[in-house]
């Protein structure tokens, strides 16, 4: 490998380690599965040959990922590892009741690195479903595990997995606010920004390299754009009055923001560097919480009709259409990645709950049984919805599948977690 790249990698690794050390102790998110699908596919992940030399087994990560998705049930195959090259023992796997299974080998590949090879099999049809080989540093066992889990998930469900994605959220402990980035399973949390003033509304750029958010460090809400790899940030909107609710355009070039420079809260768009401000829509009431869909709409919350409801305008300009009609409080819309459905928070008799609206049939479904849900956002494959809620007076993150069956919860030992945003698929 190019020595300069190596030095750079080592540099970032140290920086990450420092950030980790400061936050890891008290702020580690722990995940808990609170509901699972009804028909879970039995799957076995045999321990990989040679993986005991790693700091932690790759297959532990794979199993935890698949289990957490709520779609699979892990089947134990016993302690003896199965290598990627050995002929698969279909009889043994079938006798344990697994429909599919993976085997693999971890072997040193020189200069302290390891090659990980694995294969996936359909146990019933006794055929190979493919495999992969990758080279990694020993401390990258998590990343590797997530990628293997993504491969298996996609082969078995036909949809891309989201185990390699990241989430952003705000951790509040005492009077300290931290904007953190973690793996989708809550591990590997790193602080991108720490402040004594509130931070809200983080939004991922479509390529996952930047976050836009609202920080109150100037005693008023100002929108910043923050490059995660460098820590550099710039002001994207700091006009007279309040600046908030950033949302990226699908091409990652512009941000929809809410400004009050011309009166009450209205929708505008700006370039990510803060230039080129333009009005997106105008109304006699509050317009806020814009969200761009991939099929050309901007969804937003407006009280132009006397109560907060969800509306949409064509991203290229045009008349607003009302989208939500049931109830008197519907806020925080987020369209699904395919643009076919919408999640938002609806108030039902004093309870604020994440609700799914099928934009074609107009059918709604309340996805949660909690009471203080906020800030929903879709996973990039549209399968799960991440949101903030409260359990025992503490802010926690939760995720629910878009059919309402699979449920997970992410919380920290002390402090409140809130304002989650699910990041995009990583670009390889």
């Amino acid at each position: 490998m190019n020595p300069r790249i190596l030095t750079f990698l080592r540099g970032t690794a140290t920086a990450c380690a420092l950030a980790l050390a400061s936050s890891l102790a008290q702020a580690q998110l722990s995940i808990e599965i609170t509901g699972a699908g009804t028909n879970r596919m039995p799957v076995a992940i045999a321990s990989f040959e040679g993986e005991q030399t790693l700091p932690r087994a790759v297959t532990d990560v794979v199993r935890a990922d698949l289990e957490r998705s709520g779609l699979f049930k892990m089947v134990e195959l016993g302690p003896s590892p199965m290598g990627a090259d050995a002929p698969p023992d279909f009889g043994r796997v079938r006798s344990r009741g697994a429909d599919a299974f993976a085997v693999g080998t971890v072997a040193p590949s020189g200069s302290g690195r390891y090659q990980v090879q694995f294969r996936l099999f359909d146990a019933a049809k006794q055929v190979s479903l493919g495999g992969q080989a990758m080279v990694m540093a020993p401390n990258q066992y998590r990343t590797t595990g997530h990628r293997i889990a993504d491969f298996i998930y996609e082969k078995l469900t036909g949809e891309p997995g989201v185990f390699s994605t990241r989430i952003a959220y705000v951790l509040k402990s005492g009077q300290r606010y931290e904007l953190q980035i973690a793996d989708a399973d809550g591990s590997n949390a790193q602080t991108a920004l720490a402040s004594k003033e509130p931070i809200i509304s983080p939004a991922w750029s479509p390529d996952g390299s930047r976050l836009a958010y609202v920080s109150f460090e100037a005693k008023k809400p100002v929108v910043y754009v923050h490059s995660l790899a460098t820590g550099q940030r710039n002001v994207a909107a700091n006009f007279k009055g309040s600046n908030s609710a950033p949302a990226w355009s699908p091409d990652g070039r512009r941000l929809a923001v809410v400004l009050t420079k011309d009166g009450q809260s209205q929708l505008y768009s700006v370039n990510a560097d803060g230039s080129g401000v333009q009005r997106l829509a105008s109304s006699s009431g509050i317009d806020t919480e814009p969200a761009w869909s991939t099929d050309g709409w901007i969804y937003f919350t407006s009280d132009r009709g006397g109560s907060p409801q969800i509306y949409r305008v064509p991203a290229g300009g045009g008349d607003a259409q009302r989208v939500s009609f049931e109830g008197s409080y519907n806020v925080s819309p987020r369209p699904s990645p395919d643009g076919k459905s919408l999640v938002y928070v609806a108030r039902n008799g004093g309870r604020f709950q994440v609700t799914l609206l099928d934009l074609n049939s107009r059918q709604t479904q309340i996805l949660t049984d909690s009471a203080k849900d906020e800030s929903p956002s879709f996973a990039p494959n549209g399968r799960m919805v991440l949101y903030a809620t409260e359990v025992g007076g503490r802010g926690v993150l939760a995720a629910v599948s878009s059919d309402g069956r699979v449920k997970q919860r992410l919380s920290v030992q002390s402090g409140d977690v809130r304002e989650p945003a699910w990041g995009p698929q990583p670009r390889n």
């Binding site: 006699s284 009431g285 009280d303 009709g305 006397g306 109560s307 009302r322």
Partner: protein
């Protein structure tokens, strides 16, 4: 309001400032000067009161505007909900109508056929409606399952067992379809022809004519096929079967 009051206030002020030199000039005595100052003070005071009152009135007005805006928003919201309800109601009404129309056709067609073709057909031994629909469903299930031979036998048996059934045109139609699938073109043509001639008002009549044409084509009876397709187009010009017929005629 404020703008109009202010210049007058300024004038009062200037007048007040003039007082002092004037007094020195001996035009007024002290008494008179004091009285004037008092008068001026009272006037300024009352004008200031008015100014404040007007600012207060503006505040009041601003509050009222705010309340009116809220009321307008509420009305706009009501309007949005009502127009959405109307759109939904219209759509639902249309769905109801289509559904009702389909049901009525099923009832009317066999009744009309019965009076025309079999005016004296004695009602067959008290038909059991439950058994009737059960047998029909069973035959349909066979057809759906691809058991064409069994389905054809069942539908033909059905037409004999329940000659006054409202399902009769459908049973003939499905019998024809099942026979056609088995390449029994003659048998299929018989049943398709029956549906087309005996129940011309039935919703399946256009499809029956199309099916008839297919069986004729399969037997290389191109003249007959063309005649059937033309009949279909002239009788049921707007049916989807007629559209297919037009395409076939073009070939």
């Amino acid at each position: 309001m404020v703008q109009r009051l202010l210049p007058r206030l300024m004038a009062a002020l200037l007048a007040g400032l003039c007082v002092a030199p004037a007094a020195q000039a001996g035009l007024f005595d002290d008494e008179e000067a004091r009285a004037r100052i008092n008068a001026l003070r009272n006037e300024t005071g009352s004008r200031l009161d008015k100014l404040e009152a007007s600012a207060r009135a503006q505040l009041e007005l601003a509050n009222q505007i705010e309340q009116l805006k809220a009321e307008i928003a509420r009305l706009r919201g009501e309007n949005e909900v009502l127009s959405n309800d109307l759109v939904n109601a219209n759509k639902r009404q249309k769905d109801f109508y289509v559904d009702l129309d389909n049901r009525l056709r099923k009832i009317e067609a066999p009744a009309a056929a019965a009076t025309e073709v079999q005016p004296q057909a004695a009602p067959a031994a008290a038909a059991d409606p439950a058994a009737e629909s059960r047998d029909y469903e069973a035959a349909l299930t066979q057809l759906r399952g691809g058991k064409y031979k069994e389905a054809a036998v069942s539908f033909i048996a059905f037409t004999k067992a329940y000659p006054s059934s409202s399902f009769l045109p459908s049973a003939h139609f499905w019998a024809a379809s099942a026979l056609y699938q088995q390449k029994d073109n003659i048998g299929a043509a018989e049943h398709y022809g029956k549906v087309a001639s005996q129940w011309p008002e039935d919703s399946r009549a256009p499809d029956a004519l199309l099916g008839l044409a297919s069986t004729q084509q399969a037997r290389n009876d191109n003249v007959g096929a063309t005649r059937s397709l033309e009949k279909l187009i002239s009788r049921y010009p707007s049916s989807s079967a007629a559209q297919i017929a037009r395409q076939r005629l073009k070939k």
